[in-house]
Amino acid sequence: MKQRTEADREVAVLHPEGRLAGEGAAALRKEAREVLGSGRHVVLDLAGVKFTDSEGLSALVSLYRTAMENSKAVALCSLPRNLRSLLELTRLHRVFDIYENEALAVSAIRAGSAG
C-alpha cells in the first residue's frame, strides 16, 4: 500500500500499487480493516494495480464484507483492464460499485448511493 489519502473526514481513498496478490493482497486487507475500523467509508483507487489473482479478488471481497459489517460503503475506481475483466469473469462486477475515477467514486459515496 503506497498511499492513503483522505477525501474528507468520512471517506478514505486507498491506492494499492503493484501486485494485488500474495503480500500485496494481505497488505490491502490490513489497510482496509484499519480504515473501516476507524469509521470511514473506503474508495479503492486501483489505477496502480498491475496484476490481480484470486487472492487479490479474495481481498476485495473481504474488504466488501468488512465494510458491510461496519455499515460502511466501498467504491472501486480506475480499474485497469485486466482487473475489470477478472471481475466480470467472476461476476464480482455486480457486487461492487465501480466508477471511472476517484472523483466520481467519492461523490457517489458522499451522496450515499454507493456500497
Binding site: F51, S58, L89, T90
Partner: protein, 146 residues
C-alpha cells in the same frame, strides 16, 4: 510436439516470482514463443492460480516438495502442465463460485477453466498433473481464414 520448457521450485509462495520471471523470459527471449500480450497476461494468471493451489492444497504440509511446471508450445497450442505429489482433484467437480454469496475463495479453478480451452486431471505414478491447453490466437486466425 513442440518445444518443452520446464521449471521446478520448492512449493513456497516466495518462489512464485521465479515462476513468473521464467515465463516472462520465455516470452521475451525464445524465438518461436511469441505470444500476444493478452495471451501472456492470461497464462501468467493461470500459472499463478495453479501454483497457489499446489502450495495451499497439494503440498501444504511439504513446502520443500517441488512444484513442477511444464510448458509446451507450438504454432497451434500452449499446454501447461502443473505437477504436484498430492492426491489431485477433479476440476470438473469444482463448483462455479457465486459472487453474490460473497465467497472469498474458490475462484482459482474457475479462472483456469474459463481462461484455458481445456483443463484435465492426470493421475501419475508419483502424483498429479493438471494439464491445461489453450488454442493460440494466430492458429485460430489461420483456421478462420483458411
Amino acid at each position: 510436439m513442440g518445444d518443452h520448457f520446464e521449471i521446478a521450485v520448492p512449493s513456497r509462495a516466495s518462489h512464485l516470482g521465479v515462476v513468473r520471471a521464467f515465463f516472462r523470459a520465455l516470452c521475451e527471449e525464445c524465438p518461436g514463443f511469441r505470444l500476444e500480450e493478452r495471451e501472456v497476461t492470461e497464462i501468467q494468471l493461470v500459472l499463478q492460480e495453479a501454483c497457489i493451489n499446489v502450495i495451499r492444497h497439494a503440498h501444504a504440509e511439504r513446502p520443500d516438495l517441488p512444484m513442477r511446471i511444464r510448458i509446451t508450445i507450438d504454432r497451434g497450442t500452449i499446454v501447461l502442465e502443473v505437477h504436484d505429489r498430492g492426491r489431485g482433484f477433479d476440476p470438473d467437480a469444482v463448483p462455479e463460485p457465486e459472487a453474490a454469496a460473497l465467497q472469498e475463495g474458490g475462484y482459482g479453478v474457475f479462472i483456469m477453466k474459463s481462461t484455458m480451452d481445456s483443463v484435465e486431471a492426470v493421475h501419475t505414478g508419483d502424483g498429479f498433473v493438471l494439464r491445461m491447453t489453450k488454442l493460440r490466437v494466430p492458429a485460430r486466425r489461420e483456421v478462420t481464414s483458411g
